[in-house]
Symmetry: D2
Subunit: 335 residues, 4 copies
């Protein structure tokens, strides 16, 4: 991976050309940086990476302009999943599961660049949300999707397993949504501290705490209504299934690199659990919920942002993420 | 209506005898006090009135004790709707709509008394909720039911029409549930002030403000996601239908004394609105949500309680409610 | 209204030009024919009317072709509501309530013509559904939307008030969806007969039958789970509210020309009813449900089609609809 | 296990004494017959086994009679899970997950007997459903719960993995609920034949057919909306996850005797699947749905009943079930 000169992207008739102000660095970018098996199988270089960003509109294609909803100078962010709009998932509110999805920074040029061209359908005005917050609405949206899917959070008890940036965002969203008890768990004390800052009532260290026992103790012996599984680790899965109450729900976002042995009879069937796999953001229910939470001030993601670098120091950005003592890391590209 | 000596109620095998500590005075009690047409048609005197209360268990019937879930000395409140448990509504989560419902303080002896006998199925332990809050969980539950039915309040915009005690409770519940904008409207400045104390972002005076216009102005021209109609007035209905956004929802609790002219084509059908009639509390989903909101401190109803009287001053209690400059009024019976 | 020569519509870059085979005649077309107050306020002539149709693709714009999902020769129908795609309703699955909706045959040129140009987003392949059925998927979709909104029809009891074509379609959809008892009501014996052909278990004549009493009698005294109100008459509204069971639902599609007096306390609030205003078709959940029901043969709308005319006999088509002894009327334009 | 003389069960104040007419033999009874590790850990002999039955009321306790809803001579069946009614699951519509559940024929005396005493809350009148059908409403209810959880079956595509009696019931319920395509899979040709009799459009033999490939082929390449996993085998789990479409649902009822290796990233998370563990019957939503489907004739379980024996030939009943060439087996005890 290297920083190179590339021509400014073409802005088609239904496209919007955006001057990137800030971009978020994601675990996906680490996989690409390390060129692991997933990355080498999926990417077709050369490709500009980066899929989290916000910036300013500098050009509008003819049809995009004709819609009259966006103008040059507007501060915007964008959904990075470009979908077909015609398949059954797209036509029934599951566009985030479109099988023809093309992802910016993975399947087509992305946002670690001065300019990015996006289809007008995917562009969202910030309308008062700061651009450095706008730049991380992709992972905040993952947190919103994980925290709110299944509904009825008000008064609920919840456990967030894995306190990386998205886990920490989920903690904050759960509090904003009126959860009455939010528990968090991570091996890393730095991350537990971020979860606490975002509003977790209690945080656990799985190296020392019996997480399931602590959850039961704090929920009158029955377990939590909702587990947000963000660790992507088989041990996290087992904890999730044990910590959820009978009839409870486990929303799974962390993507494991290996399989998990599941005792379906004991852990899922007899408990009447619901499991849900979280991919991306609902297009665009999640975005509407997120913009309202951000604009009203009910949810502030900024305590999770721990580091900022200029674009040419991306190696350092990757380094602090790998070091583990980082929350969300942002690249400042322009302003 | 008069204060008389009555024998201590009988505590049957599946009943619980409760020493009443506090009781709430409700609009229903006013109707009875004034012996209006509803009251004279429904009640069969002599009957002890009062349906909102909390107190201490002093006796348990044999079967109630055998269940092992309640003990003498427990501080409790109770759902005042006693239902059959066998009809289709009862068997499908709509017990609050049981056609065989018997209501304490209306159809059978109630809580403006030293003791009340309740079926064990309806009794709920307070477990840390103060008894004077426990005494008003009946109307708080009306507010929870009205605010949360339809789900997905997080980030929503809402309008509460009518800021009596239940309207004010709904305001607080909407804030606790993560609504991003809560608007309130009432002719009475005292009540508008209570709504503001409970968290309303803006309050309107329908005598001076164009409520629908103000709502549109504060919601980008589209209207609110949810209207809680607590005024029970035909004018409130029309405002509710106009102030809701296309595809929005109107939860109606205020019970009007006359009919409303509705332009269904313009106000309901072309707007794709959902209307929902709120009766009582869902048994017992509403109670579970409410106890969690109260115990966690997310929702505190106490700013709405403006007056307290001993039982023998019930005439004064009724008087301040009729005077209009009162929120919730409580009778202190024992402690 | 007259039959005139007009140039073939322009097929833009994201448009599809369709040779119309068949078109349905709708009550809306009658309003236009009679140039009533709604029509004279809404339409800006000259405009080609007609919004229900199916036909064959004869031209594809550049971008429409590039998508690769449609080809010249495909037999198709289309959703006639052209929406903005950007507003809150559009972005949250309520596109049928988009405030910028433009309707073919009303706000822009429609389908009573040899050719119609449609945005590719709105075009649906028939894939085996006959074109004369495809031509009436707009009103069938209204019936699907009305019958299925609220879910869980399996085993339900339902009442359809008003047995025009859409009411009759709703009867058939309710049967296909597993309703255990479907009741129908209309003053017109011809229409009652159509409802029976579509599967109604019983049909009532409000001129002679006490509809509410019959419904109660056939439902163990409690009323139906769902009323589909297709009459658009204030008397139908009142019957709907009385015939629904406590906790039941009334989906309202018939658009009344005047207001209804509603006793909200007795009929909506104390009964815990849900009312829902039905507009158009959910884009595109309704279409997915409908195509599956049609392709599988579970639902066959053809008994409702009673008359067919060539385009130049549209006056006769309008005439039979006004005569009352007609179900759905189709114009055969080409094939 | 042996057939012995026992005293007639005691009928308490809130109990109903029932003369058993017919009883269903279930896989659970086989586990007890074979005294496997589950059975030897759970049961405390002596206990009368059998949990599926119907019969006639011969005695009512005082309070049961006072309710006035049941009478001597009524033909009834009963929900065999006796629950506490007070825990969070019980109070929020998840009584089937009550942690204090006591099951007849397992934890207390059951129905392979002349008489059984049941709490009045659990007894349901047959009202026209034949007693031999009433006797198997427990497993029919499992099929209803598995087929309908998640809602919106109308027009759906579904796959039933495992065509034992409950799988076959699910096939019939899916058809009654308006599924547009119902696929079934089982190694056993006898069971595949029963599934076809109950309405499966296609049935597969996993020994010869590539089940996932066939499902994709019949669903336009995307997979089914709903999988009912009734096999309880790890191979079935993997097939279920692969055969479901993106955004689809897997309702799991079959209880495996060992763990399954799950690739959560590929099979659940990236596909956005929902998994749900099915236990018992929803109390009493499932029962209401089931009685309506049975009474209306929409669903007829009788083709699945392949054998009937008198009570003293229970060994033969167990034998035919173990032989594999049996559907549902009923014991005829009285009539």
């Amino acid at each position: 991976m290297e920083l190179v000169e590339r021509p400014t992207p073409v802005c088609g008739s239904r496209d919007v050309l955006i001057r990137v102000h800030h971009a978020g660095v994601c675990g996906t970018d680490l996989h690409i940086w390390e060129w692991d098996s997933w990355a080498s199988n999926r990417l077709r270089p050369p490709v500009t990476i980066g899929h989290e960003f916000a910036g300013e509109i500098v050009e509008l294609g003819n049809e995009a302009r004709a819609e009259g909803l966006l103008a040059i100078g507007d501060l915007v962010t964008a959904e990075g999943h470009i979908i077909c709009g015609h398949c059954v998932p797209c036509r029934t509110g599951h566009g985030h599961l479109c099988v023809r999805t093309s992802i910016i920074g993975v399947d087509r040029d992305g946002a670690f660049a001065d300019y990015i061209s996006m289809p007008v359908s995917n562009v969202m005005k910030l309308d008062g949300i700061p651009t450095d917050v706008g730049a991380i609405m992709d992972p905040i949206g993952n947190g919103v999707h994980t925290a709110l899917e299944g509904g009825d959070i008000t008064g609920c008890t919840a456990l967030v397993l894995g306190c990386g940036p998205i886990g920490c965002f989920a903690v904050g969203v759960l509090r904003a949504a009126g959860a009455s008890l939010v528990l968090a768990s991570d091996f890393n004390p730095f991350r537990r501290d971020l979860a606490t800052k975002m509003g977790a009532h209690y945080s656990f260290d799985p190296a020392k705490d019996d997480v399931v026992a602590r959850v039961k103790e704090l929920t009158g012996g029955i377990g939590v209504d909702l587990v947000c599984e963000m660790s992507g680790h088989p041990d996290g899965h087992v904890q999730a299934f044990r910590a959820a109450r009978p009839g409870g729900r486990v929303n799974m976002l962390g993507t494991p690199s290996r399989t998990t042995e599941v005792d379906f009879a004991r852990d899922i069937i007899f408990k009447g659990l619901t499991l849900y796999g979280v991919t991306g953001r609902k297009m665009y229910t999640t975005w509407i919920q997120m913009t309202r939470l951000l604009r009203s001030g009910q949810f502030d993601p900024r305590p999770v942002v721990t580091h900022r670098f200029p674009l040419d120091r991306i190696a350092d950005a990757i380094g602090v993420i790998k070091g583990g003592s980082a929350g969300k890391v942002i690249l400042d590209i322009a302003s």
